[in-house]
Structure formats: C-alpha cells, structure tokens
C-alpha cells in the first residue's frame, strides 16, 4: 500500500492503495465516484473511459501506481452543470436506452471532439468503436457526436 495524490475533476485527492489497483476501482470504491462504469476490466468495452489530461483512457487498465500527480476527469467532472456540448447533444438525441455504457461513450466522444473538433463520419465511427453498447444505440450516438461537433468547431 502506498499513498497516491491525484487531481480528480479539479480537486486534489489522495488515496491509499496497492500500486496495481486500476484507477477504475480507485474512483468507484475508494473515492465514491461511480459514474465511471465497469464493463469488462480488460480494456475491451470502453465503459470505464475517463480523461487523462484530456485524452480518453480506459480506467480499468490504468494502475494507480502510474498516476501519482496526474489529473483525471470523469463523467462527473466533464462539466459543472451537465452542459458540455456532448452532454447536451446526448440529451437532444435522447441517446440512452439502459444508459449504462453512455458515460464511457460521452467521455470518448468528448475526447475525440476536444482533439479533433472537425471529425468526419469515418473518424467518428472509428474512434467510437472502442465503446460497446449492447442496447444498440449507435445510430443515436453517431448523430449526437455530429451535433456536438457542430457546436464545438
């Protein structure tokens, strides 16, 4: 066990954990931030997507031991009032069915558009394909990303 200092959603947090504990479980079980979801634990579904310095990462595959001093953004911190263009677009297109995958989907979309605001259809499809939605909301996700892209570019 060691102490790690992270900045989570702008707030400094310190946690006691084994160095190989994935960020996902630090967030969920140690810090009580349960917006970031568990889906596979092996980096294959995208449910656990967070931002590390603005870049989408799979938190289930990020050991906390490598994150000391890093800044993390989770869905809870994507915006203060739930009004990030991606969140607004998700509401406008009424994307969620069960909704479970959507935090990860939005974090992937926000990272894509943050880094490539003019992303075209092919780029959206490619970079959103790491996030699985068993409910099959891909059509709506695609439309919502395009709406958000318009607002962000």
């Amino acid at each position: 066990m060691a102490t790690y200092n992270l900045t989570v959603n702008g707030t400094p947090r310190s946690v006691e954990a084994e160095p190989d504990m994935p960020l996902l479980w630090v967030l969920r079980d140690e810090l009580g931030l349960v917006g970031t979801k568990y889906g596979c634990g092996i980096g294959a579904c995208g449910a656990c997507t967070v931002h590390l310095d603005g870049i989408a990462m799979r938190s289930c595959s990020l050991p906390v031991g490598q994150l000391d001093g890093e800044a993390i953004t989770t869905i809870e911190g994507l915006s203060e009032n739930g009004d990030h263009p991606v969140q607004l677009a998700w509401l406008e297109h009424d994307v969620p069915q069960c909704g479970y995958c959507q935090a990860g989907q939005m974090m992937s979309a926000a990272s894509l558009l943050g880094n490539s605001p003019g992303a075209d259809d092919a780029e959206i499809s490619a970079s959103m394909s790491g996030n699985i939605c068993r409910c099959g909301t891909y059509t709506r996700i695609h439309a919502a990303v395009k709406t958000a892209a318009k607002k962000m570019s």
């Binding site: 504990m21 079980d29 092996i42 809870e76 009424d94 994307v95 068993r134 909301t137 059509t139």
Partner: protein, 732 residues
C-alpha cells in the same frame, strides 16, 4: 410516416374494480421525498407539501405531480412511457411531472415484472384508469370547494376551470380534499383523439442523471459500512464444489471473509426464476471490488464431477441425430402433408442453426443485500422482484413482509435479470458473513460463464410447391437445447392446406433461459430465410409470395388456431415495400416480416460486402404495435433491436469445450460495434388506434432473416448457420 387501417374512437367505460387490481389507498404524506426524483424540467420548483392520492400519485401544493413507476426499467423506457399514460388521463402538463421508481409493493401494484414486452400492454388500461380516477376525485373536490356541480367543470394541464363563473383551481389546491373523497366505481377515459401526451415523444426521464454520471444502477449502490463480494463458480458446467482452501486469500489486503453458500438446500421451495447451474459457490468479501477479484485468484478450490461435461461438437451432433431420427411431439397437423409432399412438383428442404448466446448486459450481474436477524434489505437490478422475494423468504425462513426489495435502473436486461440468482447469492453472502451490508459484483468473466444462455437451436424446413409455384405443403421440425424453437400456430400455419409442425429437444446441463424475444430470436430468421428460398423456387418476388399467403389466411384460413392477424401482418409488409421502394431486382436488399409479442414488424435491409463480411448500411422498418405511447422511446427501441439482432446474427456465439465456455470476455466474444452498425434506419409506425402492444423485442427477430436474405442477394451465398460472419481475430 403512417397509414390508417382502422379507427376505434370510443369512450371506454371501465370499472375501478377490474383489471390491474389497483388499490386507491388514500393517505397523507407531508414530507418532501422527491428531491432525488426525475424532473422533466430541471428548473421545476419542488412543492412544500405533498398529498398522496393513490399508490401511483402524489400531488404537491404547487401542482407538481409525482408519478410512481412500478415496473423495472431495463432500458425499454417504461419509466418514461408508463407514467405518460397516467399523466395523460390525469390531464397534467408533462413539464410538471416527476417520475419516481417504486420498489416492490405487491399490495399496491400488479405485475412488477419486465419481460415479454408486456409492461405497456398490461399496464395500458389500469394506468389510464389510475390517472382518470385521480382526475375525477380532483374535479369532485373542486366542485365542493366552488359549490358547483362537477359536470360544469373541465380540466386542462393540471387546472380545473369553471367557465360559467370564470373561476379556476389548480390540482395542488384541491388535492388534500380530493384525498378524502371516495373513489367512484367507474370512470370515463379520454377519447384517444384528445391525447396530448400519449403519441407525443417524451425524452427519457433519467437522461439528465445518465449524462451526468449520477448513481442509478445496482452497481452504483453505496452504503455506510458496505463490503464488496465476488463469487467463484465451477469453471465448467458439470462440475460442483468439493473443497476450498482460503488461507492465502484471507491474508490478502482488504479481505474481510471467505464464505461458502448454497442457494439450493434440500427442501427449500424454488421459483421458476431460480435457474442456475451452480447453487454452491465460494464468495470472497472485502473492502474493494478489485481486491476481492484479486483474492479469488488466491483460492485453492477443488471441483468434482456433478454430471458429464458437454462440448459444442457433441451438442451439434446430438441435435442432428435427434432431428434425423428422433420421435417428435406433433404440435400441429393440417391436411395430409405426406401425400402433398409426394405429389409436389418441387420440394425445398433446408436446415438452419444458431448457437448458445450469453446476454452480456453491459452492467454485469450484481446486487446489494443486508440481512439482519429480523429483516432483509435488497437493492439491485432485477426483472422479477416478486419471485426473488419468494425465494429469499424461503431460504431465510423469513416472512415476505420483512424483505424489502428496491429495483434500480438496469444496465440492460434482455432476459438475464429474470433469473435472480445473483440477488439470492448476495443475500446468502450477507448472512454468511455475519449480517453485513454487502454488494455482490460479477466480473465480466463470471457474467459470461455463469449464464442462462439462449439455447442452441437446429431446425429443418420443407416446402412443397405445385406446378404453378403454389405452396401446397409445409413442414417444420425443430430442436434445441432444453426447448424446441417452433411456434406451431404462427405463420405460415393457416396459409397452406397441408402443414406439419414438430418439436424435439435435447437435455443439457448448460443453464438456459429467455433471451430477448425467446425462440423468436432464432426461428424468425430461419423461417424468413427459408421462405425467401421457397419464393425463389416458385419464381416469385419474396414480398408478393408472402402477400399471396396472407391473402389465403385472410379469405380462407386453414385451421382455427392461427396466432396472428393476417391483415396487420400483410399491412406491415406492404408498408415497408412502399416506403423502401422495394424492387424485385434489388441486388443488395433482403426482406423479412415477423409477428411476436403481439406486434408486427417488416423490414427491408440493405448491405454491402466488406471483403467476406457483410456491413449493413440501411434498414427500413414498418411496425404495427398499436398506439405508440412514446414515439421517441419507441424509435430508440426499434433501432436498438435492429442493431442488436444484426450484431448477434453476424458475430454472437458461445461455444463449450468439456463444459467450459470458450468465450469469457469481450476479447473473445464479439459484440457489434459502432462502425459495424447501420447508420440509416427508417421506421414507419402503423397508426390504427389499437391498444398498444410490445416494442422491446419485436424488431429483433425478423432482421436476422432480412440480413440472411440480403447476404444472399449481395454475395450469391445462402447462409444457414449463425453466426453469419466468419470468425476473425478480435482486437481490444
């Protein structure tokens, strides 16, 4: 966007005593407990005081209304659409409505179950009555207060008007008086022509919380002092627990306890929902999910044989042998099929198969439980809370009143959460670990390898055509693991003089259960692909061929038990033909139609081949599910069902080697992804005013047939075995 088939505009008179068994318990509730609830409008002002009108309704002094949603929400949108029905008859502005999930409460609600796409169908009339009854009481209270006759009053958006004297009262002003009045025997329901909420798209009431990542799901439950638990189940079907050495696991950081549980002890009554191959489990309890998952690996467990291990090759050959030589149960016989086949000019015979499928809800199975001496509290994702409570009551030997179950929003259901073994396990773990609050979490591997799988199926069809290409004989012989997929009285039964349907099944020790659109999820694709080939053999356009059959069913049906309405069936096929601009010579399009869960769906699907893999580009879909309560949610369901069906037909399979599932996580199990999904889905609803029917399932089954038929037209190859896409290496 719509066609008019029939019109049924009449006032419905219904009695409060019938249908749904609603209890109008009139009581006071003064505290405001709705700040966690879902407001359509985030700016909505919460009232200072609430009046409980009945089990479904609370009205605030400022006119804000809370509608309880009794049915479990698995993503099928009932938490939005069911309250819409109450709000419609109550006559309130949807903006002033708050929706709250109700817990299990069998005294006040009926059928708190999510399954078979039946929530709306069964809820339709009782929910309308609930709203209408409350509106009646509010009007009666206003009549007293204004000292006029109730017949002189009208309501609009939560306000009661007396036009004669130009006076008005808000619902919040009369709610407390209304709650003291006796509900009437009968109420008059609205004319559907006057609907202002039903039929008008409303956004998901939980959407705001979902986009902000607020805790909503079972996996998000957190309690003071709560521990986490993980289970270890036998690695293969056919094995059971022999012994466990937990010394090392117990010494790991954060580990609180290791316990052994038995969900099926001798003499304890089981429910239909208790489907589980592995009642005896080892559970690790600790202070962090990851730590308990790590400690699982340090357990030294011995397993022993319970029954013979099975493999996919063995399942397949057993199904084939049975199909070839087994003595079948005859489910339906019309005319003389043997003679008709003997006299047929052409006989087409084809077989179709599909593998076992795990449910793979994105939220893995989990449950919170806290069992103490005299009560048990359960919170989590369950489609069948009532049955879970019965099992828990029997296992704990505790009366049902002492067991409280709260349903969380579920990260998908698809049938898996009908079988609440994970809830039972959480209860037993809490108890065995000394009555602590505990949240059981399945790893993805646990979830995929401890399933109640969609069974493997194999079906053989034969069709006999006469010289003119007319269908004169039809034979379906189906088999599967634990069940046959055949519905004997569905189409094309009733359209052909000589018809035979037969059922067979093998027994397996792999646990199986309902999976989105049970049996239909396979048989629709098989049947619709077969009919495509039969139409081709008859030299007819596949839509025209089917319409001729429906014509027969409309004018001169064979037999009496035909489980469909040929007019509505043909209606969706004609609609999709017209909307898609269907052309017999389209070379990348396939068509299919199916009826299940009381709804009719027809689809035209277009694809392109990317190498050897089909990629669906566009789907046209016609749906007849009666009145569409929430078009926004309905479209989402249809789109999702289509994508889900395409994905599973192309890629889905779990196989077994010596009882062990070969796929354990999403690195080896392929689910459809964003780039593989069609981006263009056009849905057309039939507008016929008929009471609403299921929507969560019916769009999935036929799309598999449309896909198979489009693959044939695009590639020249008929596909008979799911998954259709050739297996390929998976990347994370």
């Amino acid at each position: 966007m719509s066609v008019q088939h029939t019109s049924r505009r009449s006032f419905l008179k219904v009695s409060a005593a019938t249908g749904g068994g609603l209890m109008l318990g009139l009581s006071w509730l003064t505290s405001c407990e709705s700040d966690k609830a879902n407001k359509a409008d985030p700016e909505l002002q919460m009232p200072a005081e609430w009046v409980t009108v009945n089990a479904f309704l609370k009205i605030g002094d400022n006119g804000v209304v809370t509608i309880m949603s009794p049915n479990p929400e698995i993503g099928q949108n009932v938490k939005t659409s069911m309250p819409m029905i109450v709000a419609e008859e109550l006559d309130v502005d949807w903006k002033n409505v708050i929706v709250e999930q109700a817990g299990l409460d069998t005294e006040n609600y009926t059928r708190q179950l999510a399954g078979g796409s039946q929530s709306i169908r069964h809820g339709w009339e009782p929910l309308r009555k609930t709203g209408a009854m409350a509106r009646y009481l509010l009007v009666a209270a206003a009549a007293q207060q204004l000292e006029v006759d109730a017949s002189e009053l009208r309501t609009e958006n939560g306000v009661i008007y007396h036009d004669g004297s130009d006076r008005s009262l808000g619902y919040g002003e009369v709610a407390s008086l209304a709650a003291t009045l006796t509900p009437p025997e009968e109420v008059t329901l609205k004319d559907p022509a006057d609907f202002k909420i039903i039929g008008h798209g409303k956004k998901n009431v939980d959407a705001r919380k979902i986009v902000k990542g607020e805790p909503l799901y079972g996996l998000d439950v957190q309690r003071e002092g709560m521990m986490y638990a993980a289970i270890v189940h036998p690695p293969a079907f056919g094995l059971k627990l022999k012994s466990v050495d937990d010394t090392e696991a117990r010494s790991m950081p954060g580990i609180h306890d290791v316990v052994t549980i038995d969900a099926r002890p001798e003499g304890v009554e089981q429910q239909w929902s208790d489907v589980n191959a592995f009642p005896q489990l080892v559970a690790v309890v600790g202070n962090n999910t990851w730590r308990v998952l790590q400690a699982k690996k340090a357990l030294k467990i011995e397993w022993e044989s319970d029954s013979a291990p099975e493999s996919t090759a063995g399942h397949r050959s057993a199904l084939e042998d049975l199909l070839n030589d087994g003595k079948a149960e005859e489910a339906r016989r019309d005319g003389d099929p043997e003679a008709a086949f003997a006299s047929a000019a052409t006989v087409v015979e084809r077989s179709y198969s599909a593998p076992f499928l795990p449910h793979n809800t994105m939220e893995p199975m989990n449950f919170f439980a806290h069992v103490t001496e005299d009560k048990a509290e359960l919170v989590g994702p369950i489609q069948t809370p009532e049955f879970l409570r019965k099992t828990v009551s029997a296992l704990l030997n505790m009366p049902e009143e002492k067991i409280d179950i709260m349903m969380t929003r579920m990260g998908g259901g698809f049938g898996r959460r009908l079988y609440g073994n994970f809830g039972v396990e959480a209860v037993l773990i809490s108890k065995a670990a000394g009555g602590i609050p505990v949240k059981l979490v399945y790893s993805r591997e646990d979830d995929m390898t401890q399933g109640t799988y969609r069974p493997e199926y194999l079906v053989r069809y034969r069709a006999g055509l006469d010289e003119d290409g007319k269908l004169i004989a039809f034979h379906v012989r189906g088999t599967g693991a634990n069940e046959s997929p055949v519905f004997a009285n569905r189409f094309p039964a009733g359209t052909v003089d000589n018809y035979l349907a037969e059922n067979l099944s093998i027994e397996t020790n792999v646990s199986t259960g309902a999976w989105r659109a049970p049996r239909s999820n396979f048989i629709a694709g098989a049947e619709q692909a077969f009919l495509d080939e039969v139409a081709e053999a008859a030299g007819k356009d596949p839509i025209e061929f089917r319409l001729e059959l429906f014509e027969r069913a409309k004018t001169d049906p064979v037999g009496e038990d035909n489980d469909y309405d040929a007019e509505r069936y043909a209606g969706v096929l004609e609609l999709v033909r017209d909307k898609s601009g269907w052309n017999t010579n389209d070379d990348k399009r396939g068509v299919a139609a199916y009826y299940c869960h009381n709804s009719y769906v027809a689809q035209v699907l277009e694809l392109e081949m990317k190498g050897s893999e089909p990629r669906v580009t566009e789907v046209h879909c016609a749906v007849d599910c009666g009145i569409v309560v929430n078009p926004e949610g309905a479209l989402n369901q249809i789109q999702g069902g289509i994508i889900d069906g395409i994905g599973h037909a192309l890629y889905g399979a779990v196989t077994f080697t010596d009882g062990k599932p070969d796929q354990q996580n999403f690195d080896t199990y392929r689910l459809i992804r964003h780039a593989e999904a069609p981006q263009s889905i056009h849905t057309h609803f039939v507008d016929n005013g008929i009471a609403p029917t299921g929507l969560g399932e019916p769009s999935l089954p036929p799309v598999i047939g449309a896909l198979a038929n489009a693959i044939y037209r695009a590639s020249g190859e008929r596909v008979y075995e799911q998954p259709f896409a050739k297996p390929r290496e998976l990347k994370g």
